[in-house]
């Protein structure tokens, strides 16, 4: 049965979690969404639902959780941040972790939720993704001049360096993976591994030194001497004098052993008087064999 205070506590926790979740969800999304690649003069590239070569905008979710951009705004007008509200309640607007979404900037809303109400063209000079409150810009950029089938994209997904790109990559990673891996880069500068050894051992030491410092001080805080000092400060000298130092594990073990031995030895000396108790076996029908065994009629056999 749930107690009264639990009845209050549970809704409180649930509401706290809901508030936290919504706050956390927003904080995850609004820092991790990036306008990643744009192509305005799409002449031979990908096509929309009506097989038209339309301008497109790629948005990248750099987070490790999926984000729904439904309810966010996208605009090409710095004076009207609420120009187009991306519809809510659609599965299509969910960007998976480290994933991409393509918005068609073709001004044709009849084609679905991923089409904006405005059309980007060479006269467009601004693009922004705006939070659901319609005030705070998540990511924006000034559009440069476009050439046919050449996109303007971040060099690497989510990074701040922009470049023109001939090999457009809608819905894919911007960087081609010819770059060396983290390990290869590391080994290039540290072929013997001495750098790694120095850095790593230093970090291990820092971590454990931190723990050492913290617990060295905590042990002082919790030591009985502190209590003693407090009592003396308060003028309770008699009470303070009663407090002794820490009992070590060895002392505790010795006391426990002594108690154990004492309790064991209590029965060591017997009084050496033997008492023979008469054991009588009274009749009981419960353990009688007569009632325990089925009696068969021998005549049948």
């Amino acid at each position: 049965m749930i107690k009264h205070n639990q009845k209050i506590l549970i809704p409180l926790i649930v509401s706290f979690l809901l508030v936290f979740k919504s706050f956390y969800g927003l904080s995850q999304s609004h820092t991790n969404l990036k306008i990643n690649e744009i192509l305005i003069l799409n002449e031979n590239g990908i096509t929309n639902e009506k097989a038209q070569h339309a301008p497109w905008i790629e948005i990248f979710n750099s987070a490790y959780n999926s984000v729904n951009i439904g309810g966010f705004y996208i605009t090409d007008d710095p004076n009207n941040l609420k120009k187009y509200l991306i519809p809510k309640n659609s599965q299509k607007t969910i960007i998976p972790k480290r994933g991409y979404i393509i918005l068609w900037a073709d001004g044709d809303l009849s084609q679905g939720v991923l089409h904006t109400s405005f059309k980007l063209d060479t006269s467009s000079h601004f693009l922004a993704l705006v939070e659901p409150n319609g005030r705070k810009i998540i990511d924006s950029l000034t559009l440069p001049k476009f050439q046919p089938d050449i996109s303007y994209s971040r060099k690497n997904d989510g990074e701040n360096i922009w470049e023109y790109k001939v090999n457009v990559s809608p819905g894919m990673a911007n960087s081609t993976s010819n770059e060396p891996s983290a390990a290869q880069t590391f080994i290039q500068y540290d072929p013997t591994g001495i750098g790694m050894a120095i850095i790593a051992i230093t970090v291990v030491f820092i971590v454990l030194i931190l723990l050492y410092i913290v617990f060295n001080n905590i042990s002082k805080l919790y030591s009985l001497d502190m209590k003693k000092k407090k009592l003396i400060k308060k003028g309770k000298i008699e009470e303070a004098s009663v407090i002794k130092g820490d009992t070590t594990g060895e002392v505790s073990a010795a006391i426990a052993m002594a108690l154990h031995l004492y309790s064991e030895q209590l029965h060591d000396e017997e009084n050496a008087v033997l008492t023979i108790k008469r054991v009588s076996k009274n009749y009981s029908p419960w353990n009688s064999k007569i009632y325990g065994i089925r009696q068969f009629d021998r005549k049948i056999w």
């Binding site: 983290a182 390990a183 290869q184 590391f186 080994i187 072929p191 013997t192 591994g193 001495i194 790694m196 050894a197 850095i199 790593a200 051992i201 970090v203 291990v204 030491f205 820092i206 971590v207 454990l208 030194i209 931190l210 723990l211 050492y212 913290v214 617990f215 060295n216 905590i218 042990s219 919790y222 820490d246 009992t247 070590t248 594990g249 060895e250 002392v251 505790s252």
Partner: protein, 387 residues
Amino acid sequence: MEFSGGFFDFLTHHLKQFIEYTAFSNMTIGHIIMIIVGLVFITLAITKEYEPLLLVPIGFGMIIGNIPFYPGLQIGIYEQGSVLNYLYFGVINGVYPPLIFLGIGAMTDFSALISNPKLMLIGAAAQLGIFGAYMLALLLGFSPEQAGAIGIIGGADGPTAIFLTSKLAPELMGAIAVSAYSYMALVPVIQPPIMKLLTTKKERLIRMKPPRAVSKTEKILFPILGILLTCFIVPSGLPLLGMLFFGNLLKESTVTNRLAETARGPLIDIVTILIGLTVGASTQANTFLTTRSLSIFALGAISFVIATFGGVMFCKFINLFLSKDNKINPLIGNAGVSAVPDSARVSQMIGLQYDKTNHLLMHAMGPNVAGVIGSAVAAGILLSFLY
């Protein structure tokens, strides 16, 4: 298929096929060697009691993994869709090690460390073995990822080694896991000569101050502060350290006894069975018996030696700055290489050889558990640099 000779032809054809499917027909010398190694592991575990909880499943896994079979029947551990392959998923994706760390956390008493926090530093010094082996592996021509995975053998922590290898060099999983667990079992053989070599008789007789009693609050604070301090610096160690400290909080809070009991009992037992068996089965002769595996074994042994050296020498170094009453017996330095509690037992055993009343076990448990934290942190660093 037509059988022109009738029933007899049909029978001989299927009999021949059956013989082709038997292990005898697919047997190679490699398989026999690996089965013998498996039997040696089981013998060592049963007769010498060297880490039986690990060596029995690994040894038997080796036998399972090296019974040859006709390929394509979804039997082998590397064949997609086989039962063993499903169980191996937990190894190759690093699922099992954090669960084992949860159990370790729930069974570890950090009191020795909390009562004498300076012992934590020994746990850091003993991680030298990891990076010594890393450098040597690079020298032998291993890729940096492989070198990192090989180096972690020096941490003397099986789950950590499996976790890091699954991320950096899954192709070396069998060799690294078996090497790590084998050397952990051989700690009582490897460490004593190095300890004796590096210490004087006078040092071996040092009596350390008995550890003070640790309050419950301190014990509860340890996992909470532990995770905050370690994982804020090395978040990549989160899967291991998070589970370790969580398990410890379950134990020390004393209000979640059922969960702690499960974590340190049935859960860790189940995962140990699965990890041991699948790691053993992953040592199929054709993938395991290579010169590369032999190099890994050699590097593993060297890393253990370096780690022991690091721990013992650090104790001697730290003694230079400590007062006469607070000196550390360098025989506990070897315990800095996790391998809980075997390396601590070695300290106790060697200590008793020189003074029958000098019990070092409790003192050695401090660096021992610090070694677990240290090796998980080191794994996190390797992961963040090389992954």
